[in-house]
Each structure stands twice: as C-alpha cells, then as structure tokens.
C-alpha cells in the first residue's frame, strides 16, 4: 500500500540516518539525541509490524530511560563536543562490518522464507498480535476466521500469558539479572571507600 510505503521509507531513512549519525557525529551529546531518534524510529517499525506493546515499551525504556542515562553519562564525562573520535581499528572495523552486512543482506534476500502469508495465515496472526495486549473483542476475532479455541487462547492474554507462562523461567531470570545489575551499578557508581 502506497501510504504504508511512505511511512516505512520515512522511518527507514530516519533510523539509518540517525544510526549513521550516532556513529559519525563528533558531538557526543548530539549522538545521544540521534540515538533517541533512532529508538523512536524503531518503535515506529514495531507499530507497523503490529507490535504496539513492544513499541510502547521501546519508547518507555529506550527513550525514557536508556537515552536519558546516556545523556547523564555524556554530561558527567569529558570532551563532549569533540569526544566521539575513531580509534586505530577504523579500517578493519569498517571492512568487517561491510562484509558482515553483505553476508547478511545476501542471506536475507536470497532465502526463501516460509511466510505466514504464504501459508494463508496472515490476517489471523495479525489479529492475534494486535489484540495480544488488551482484552480483545471476541466477536471481531471470531469474524476473522479464528476457531473458538484460538479466540480463547488469545483472550487469555497473549503476550502476558507467554511471559508468565511458557517463558516464566527466563522472565524470572531476567528479573534477577535486573536486580543484580541495579545493585552492581550502584556499587560501581558509588566507588570505593564511600
């Protein structure tokens, strides 16, 4: 669809341009702002891929927290204006990155993906994804050709069900990791002897 393409390419330009900016701009503060822009653009991609919840989480955590932390970090260290300089590995790094990019692009383009659309399942899965974070309207789900059992499983909560159902162990592990990171960050930032 035409409109969709426009939005997509606009987001793509913002994301990639911003990413290049993050890496290339000398001013670290601007790099951090550009990073936030990239995050917002990626959030836009999530919206386009029916992952609204993830998009919101992306904005909330990446833009609201991580980018702010970066700005804090930038401000508390030196050389903000001219700080982002390349090191000696510039050329090999560029080489490796370009090679890796080529390999990945080649793989992405030439692989014959088994897509949901190819299986005729696209609309159902989209409904599932869109509705996964709220209480879905059962009648609209049923209208899209889903079975009663599937409606039931989606109405059960989708993403939340997966997070504290099938993936509860990694979920708990990640909580523990966060706790450890919080304590570790405190310990590191406090420094010795204080």
């Amino acid at each position: 669809m035409w409109f969709e393409q426009v939005v997509f390419w606009a987001l793509a330009v913002v994301a990639i341009g911003g990413a290049v900016g993050v890496v290339m701009v000398r001013d670290l503060f601007r790099a951090a702002l550009l990073l936030a822009t990239v995050f917002v653009a990626v959030g836009g991609f999530y919206v386009m891929m029916n992952a609204e919840f993830l998009a919101v989480v992306q904005i909330l955590i990446y833009v609201g927290a991580i980018a702010v932390l970066f700005i804090f970090g930038v401000m508390l260290t030196r050389d903000v204006r001219q700080g982002n300089t390349p090191n000696r590995l510039q050329i090999p790094a560029a080489l490796v990155s370009v090679l890796l990019l080529a390999a990945m692009l080649f793989t992405a383009v030439t692989t014959d993906w088994t897509t949901l659309a190819g299986l005729g399942l696209e609309s159902q899965s989209q409904i599932a994804q869109t509705q996964a974070v709220g209480i879905p309207d059962a009648s609209s789900l049923a209208a899209s050709g889903l079975s009663a059992q599937e409606v039931e499983s989606i109405a059960g909560g989708g993403l939340a069900d997966l997070l504290i159902g099938e993936f509860v162990l990694p979920f708990e592990a990640v909580s523990l990791l966060l706790l450890a990171a919080a304590i570790g960050g405190l310990a590191l930032a406090r420094g010795r002897g204080r």
């Binding site: 490796v96 080649f106 793989t107």
Partner: protein, 679 residues
C-alpha cells in the same frame, strides 16, 4: 505405631540441628552459642522419645517394613537405596544412642560452658548423633558405609576438637588413619558383594540390601540362597570384621582409642565408650547371620575378642591417666562383646553392649566431673576427692561395680550371661575354643576388678595430692609440656547439676538396666518385663533365634568371687593396710610394668618400624624417585609446552577491548561465508 516420616525424623532432627547451628547459630557469634546446645538437646530429646515409642510398639509386635527409596541403580542386583531396617537390634541401638547422647549433651552444657567454640562443639555433636543414628537405621550396606564413614569423620572432628593442641591433632589423625585401615576391609567386602551382584540378581536379591545378604549367606538347606559360602564367605566376614575391629578398637587396631581421649570428656563418654566404638559390635551383630554360617570367621572373632579383652585390661593396670584407664577398659569390654559374638552368644553380646553403654558413659562423665574439680586427669595427682564430691564418688563406684560385674548391677547380668554361654558353648565354635575364650574372659574379670578399683582408690581415697596445679608445677620442673586437660583451675567441690543430673540418670540406668533383660528368668517383673525379655527380643530379629540359657547360680558365684578377689587385691595394694601415698606399688613389677606402661611397645612398633622403616625408607623412597623424575618430568614438560604456546597467544592479548569483538565479528563473517559457499 510410627509412620515412616516419624522414624526418619529421629535421624533428620539432629541433621537439622547440625545445619541450623552451622548456618544460623554459629555466624551469630558467641552470644548466641547457648542456643546451639538447646537446639541439639531438643532434637535429641524428641529423637529419644520417638525411639522409645518405636521400641515399645515393636516390642508389642508391630512389624515395621518400609519400602526403601531407590537412589541409584548400579547394576542388576546392585541398587543403592535409602531405607530403614527396623529390627530389634536397631530399635535397641536407637534408644541407646539417643538416650546416652541426650544425657551427654545435657552434661556438656555445663562441661563445655565458656569454651570459645561452644557452638562448633554442638554442631559436631549433632553431626555425630545424626550419622550414628543413620548408621543404625541403614538398610543398605552402602548407606551404612556412608554413615560409617561419617561417624568416623565426626569422631575425627571431635577428637581434634581442641585442634590448637598438637597432641589432640595428632590423636585425631591417628584415630582417623587406624580406623581407615579397618575400613578398607569393610569396603573390600562391599566391593566383593558388588561383583557378585549378578548372582544375587539371578535369585531376585539385591547384593547391597542387608537382609538379602543374610539370605545369600544362608545355605540352601536352611532355606537361604547359598550364594556366598566356603572360603568366599570367610573372606567376606573377615573384611567386615576388619572394619568392625578398626571402629571397636580390637587388637591390633586398638592403639587409637586411648589416644582419642585427647577430645573433650563428654565426647569420650558418648563416642569412645557408648556409641561409636560399639558400632563395630553393631556391625558384626548386623551381619551375624552371615558370620554364623562360617565357623572360621566365628573363631577369629571369638579369639581376637577374648584376647583383646585380656590384653587391654593388662594395659589398664599400668595407666595413670583416668581416661586412659577407661579407654583400656572400653577396649576390653568391647573384646567381651566380640568374643561373645564369636562364640555365638548374639543376644548376650548385644545385652552387654546395651548395659555397657550406660555404665561406661557414667564412668566417663564421672571422670569429666573429677577433672572439672581437680583440674587434671592424672590419678597420681588426685586422691581424697570422696569428701569433696560425694555424688560423683558414689556414682563412679556404682559404675565401677557395674563394670566389674557385681551382683545385682547391670554389668553383672550381661557379663555373667556371656561367661555362661562361653562355658556352656553354643555350637557355633568348637568347645575347646569356647572354653579357651571362657578362661580368658574370666581372667579379664579379675583384671577389670583390679584396675577399676585401683582407679577408684587413686581418685577418691587417701589424701589430695595437688591436682592440676601440682602437675603443672612438676611438668615445669621436668621441662615437659603439660598433658591435655590440665589446668590451674582447681576447686574441690561437686560439679553443677547440669553435670550431675545426667550422671544420676545414667547411674540409675547402670543399676537397673540389667533387669530389662530379666535374666533370672522369673515370670515377669512388675507384670511388665517377661522372662528373658531383652535377649529374647534380640533373638526375635534373627532367622534362627538363639535363646538365652537359664540363669546359673554357680556361674554367678564364680564370677562374683573372681571379681571380689580382684577388688580385694586392689584394696590390699592401694588402701589397706598402708594407704597409697606417692609411689605406685605396681612399679615394683619391673620389666612387666614397663612393658605394660609402654603398651607392649605396639605404638613404637607401628610408628618406628612399620611407618619409619618400611614406609619412609623403602616405599617413600621409591615413590619419591618416581614423583621426582617421571611425574615431575611430565608435568614440567607440559608446563614448558603450554608456557611457550601461551607466550605466543599472549601476543594477541593486547588489552584493547575492541580488538576482541573485531576478531569475533571477523570469525562470524568467515563462518557465514563458509556456510553460504558450502551449505
């Protein structure tokens, strides 16, 4: 009727108290240390009540047969299980272990008071009690072996409890190593059984399950499986007996037990008198159906036991340390039990184990009480304590009389039964052997009586000879280090009630415990205890229960006369007409006394000849050469190679963090490209 969890609780409560003390109480510091004691006492108290309940319900005919929990299936016919084997032997042992242990823990509350490692002491004690209970409960030989070794470990920890003293550390090491020599035999026996597992499997038995082993040893004619017989059976029994001999201090592995007196006195009372050393007897008793199928093994057990009984008693004559006298006495009494087992007097042996636990623990606690006031263990510096500590005196006398076997105390009944069976013979060994055993044991009675009352006289009668203060002074003059347990802390007086209370309990037990067996064979006592109750109860656990012979007045008279003769000799030597002053009249024995005092030079033999000559000179020299030239050479070569390779690789470690992901990413590129090309 107890449920399975309740039975397990007897074992698990001390485990829990061990863990609680180790993890919670000890880190809280010395201010909370008392809690450790109360925890242990609580755990063991509940265990004691449960054990009594178990014994009672079992005596009323309840049969406990819990299905063991499978832990590991090694091979067909060899699976390691965690199970409960609740036969009469176990039930009685449980009562003994928890009861004596409980008394000792209460006693220790006062005895160990103020020790800076109070909580650690109770942690070890809990561990020991737990492992001893586990050993008694085990239904699987591997399970049993695990607890057997745990018992050894906790004994090691407790002997070396005051590990800052070199002598205690050395004693702990010695005990550990010497018992380990015996345990090798036990382990070999287990391995032997394991290798015969397929034959067991063919009969639908489990080679590691104890009742199955009994059945395997029984000949086909007697309805058994007849898997092990003849020479194999003899070696199996000897292996088990080696383990038993190590733990029970039988000749020639007895030398660790007197040294083990370096530990705190309650430890000696619990571990080296009442429970752990009895584990050897328990082991032989546990496998008695196996032993009884092999006459050769029975003869070995009987003769070694009888010999140990006399041999240790002779050494007891010349010892001056009160705890060492007790230790030799313990070895001697264990010899009685072994001898009794050897001649087939199963129930008499275990009866003696039962009574011995009480009076020997009593004697040890008495020794501890004496030390508490006199500040020393050396009898040469005691004397005259009778007036200062009347309770201790009378309780010790009761214990000693019981030990000697004077009518009607507990020791009399059990010892008398052993003598009687040895005299009559049970058919398990040739009559000549059992007669020889009888004579040796009778000689043992005389010696026991003599050294026991020598101990009583030296300790309690005559004039006070200065106690720990004097001994320290003498040691200083002679330029020797002071032995364990000596302190300036001399205050003549009765010990606190925390110590006397348990002793009173044990003293009462030492008087009445024999009656539980109702050995005279009256119809019943107070309508409660039927004729020959305990011995018959023991016998009920065996396939072909051996029944106690009827009480013989003649034998009672003989043993009492011999015992009284021994006591009389001691009185003549040490008290009357001339009371003992400073010189032990036994030193006039010259060479013999020196031999006894030097413990037949066995320690010298072990340490000087075997360890010093054979091990240091020959074995160590060879292994040293091998280690130096071959092992070190290989290690050195490997080290050299890796050092040089490492030097090369280290060049890549330039500390630039970004080079590492760069190389990793390059590797990723290579892998993807290879995959695209090849795959």
């Amino acid at each position: 009727m107890l449920t399975e969890p309740l039975v397990w609780a007897i074992f698990l409560l001390p485990v829990a108290s061990f863990l609680l003390i180790g993890v919670v109480v000890r880190p809280l510091g010395p201010s909370m240390a008392k809690a450790a004691g109360y925890l242990t006492i609580l755990a063991l108290g509940i265990g004691f009540v449960l054990s009594l309940w178990l014994l009672r319900s079992s005596a009323h005919g309840v049969v406990y047969d819990f299905v063991p929990h499978l832990w590991l299936n090694l091979a067909p016919g060899a699976s390691i299980q965690m199970g409960l084997l609740l036969d009469p032997l176990t039930n009685v042992m449980l009562v003994v272990v928890t009861g004596v242990s409980l008394m000792v823990q209460i006693y220790s509350m006062a005895y160990m008071d103020g020790d800076e490692s109070f909580a650690r002491y109770y942690a070890y004690m809990s561990l020991f009690s737990a492992s001893m209970i586990g050993l008694v409960l085990a239904s699987n030989i591997v399970q049993m072996y695990a607890f057997w070794e745990l018992v050894g470990l906790s004994s090691y920890l407790l002997i070396g409890f005051w590990h800052e003293r070199p002598s205690a550390a050395a004693a702990a090491k010695k005990a550990f190593i010497i018992t380990r020599i015996g345990d090798v035999g036990f382990l070999l026996a287990i391995i032997f059984l394991f290798f015969r597992a397929d034959e067991f499997a063919a009969q639908g038995l489990n080679a590691l399950h104890i009742p199955d082993i009994w059945q395997a040893a029984a000949p086909l004619a007697a309805g058994g499986a007849g898997i092990v017989a003849g020479g194999a059976l003899l070696w199996l029994c000897l292996g088990l007996f080696a383990g038993a001999a190590g733990k029970s201090g039988q000749f020639p592995l007895h030398t660790w037990l007197p040294d083990a007196m370096e530990g705190p006195t309650p430890v000696s009372a619990l571990i080296h008198a009442a429970t752990m050393v009895a584990a050897g007897v328990f082991l032989v008793g546990r496998f008695f159906p196996v032993f009884s199928e092999s006459e050769g093994a029975m003869m070995v057990v009987a003769l070694i036991g009888a010999f140990t009984a006399v041999f240790a008693a002779t050494m007891g004559l010349a010892a001056n340390d009160i705890k060492r006298v007790m230790a030799y006495s313990t070895v001697s009494q264990l010899g009685y039990m072994m001898a009794a087992l050897g001649i087939g007097a199963y129930n008499a042996a275990l009866f003696h184990l039962f009574t011995h636990a009480f009076f020997k623990a009593l004697l040890f606690l008495g020794a501890g009480s004496v030390n508490h006031s006199a500040g020393t263990f050396n009898m040469m510096y005691m004397g005259g304590l009778r007036k200062a500590m009347p309770f201790t005196y009378w309780l010790t006398v009761i214990g000693a009389l019981s030990l000697v076997g004077i009518f009607p105390l507990a020791g009399f009944w059990s010892k008398d039964e052993i003598l009687l069976e040895a005299w009559l013979g049970t058919g398990a060994v040739p009559t000549t052997v059992s007669l020889l055993v009888f004579l040796m044991l009778l000689a043992g009675v005389l010696l026991t009586a003599f050294y026991s009352f020598r101990m009583v006289h030296l300790t309690f009668h005559g004039e006070f000879r200065g106690g720990g203060e004097q001994e320290l002074h003498d040691c200083e003059e002679a330029g020797q280090p002071a032995p364990t347990g000596v302190s300036h802390h001399v205050h003549l007086g009765e010990s606190p009630w925390f110590m006397v209370g348990p002793m009173v309990f044990l003293g009462v037990s030492a008087v009445v415990a024999g009656w539980i067996a109702n050995p005279i064979g009256v119809k019943s006592i107070f309508g409660l205890i039927p004729s020959h109750w305990l011995t018959e109860y023991f016998a009920s656990g065996l396939y072909d229960g051996h029944h106690a012979p009827p009480f013989s007045i003649a034998m009672a008279v003989i043993s009492n006369v011999v015992a009284l003769a021994g006591i009389g000799l001691a009185v003549l030597t040490y008290m009357w007409p001339r009371p003992f002053t400073n010189n032990d009249p036994l030193t006039k024995g010259g060479v013999v006394h020196t031999l006894l005092a030097q413990r037949y030079y066995l320690d010298h033999l072990y340490e000087g000849l075997i360890v010093g000559r054979v091990f240091y000179r020959i074995v160590a020299a060879i292994t040293d050469w091998v280690d130096r030239n071959i092992v070190d050479g290989i290690v050195g070569l490997v080290g050299w190679i890796s050092r040089n390779i490492g030097g090369l690789i280290a060049l890549a470690q330039n500390g630039q963090v970004q080079t590492y992901p760069l190389v990793a990413a390059a590797g990723g590129v290579v892998i993807i490209v290879l995959y695209l090309i090849l795959g």
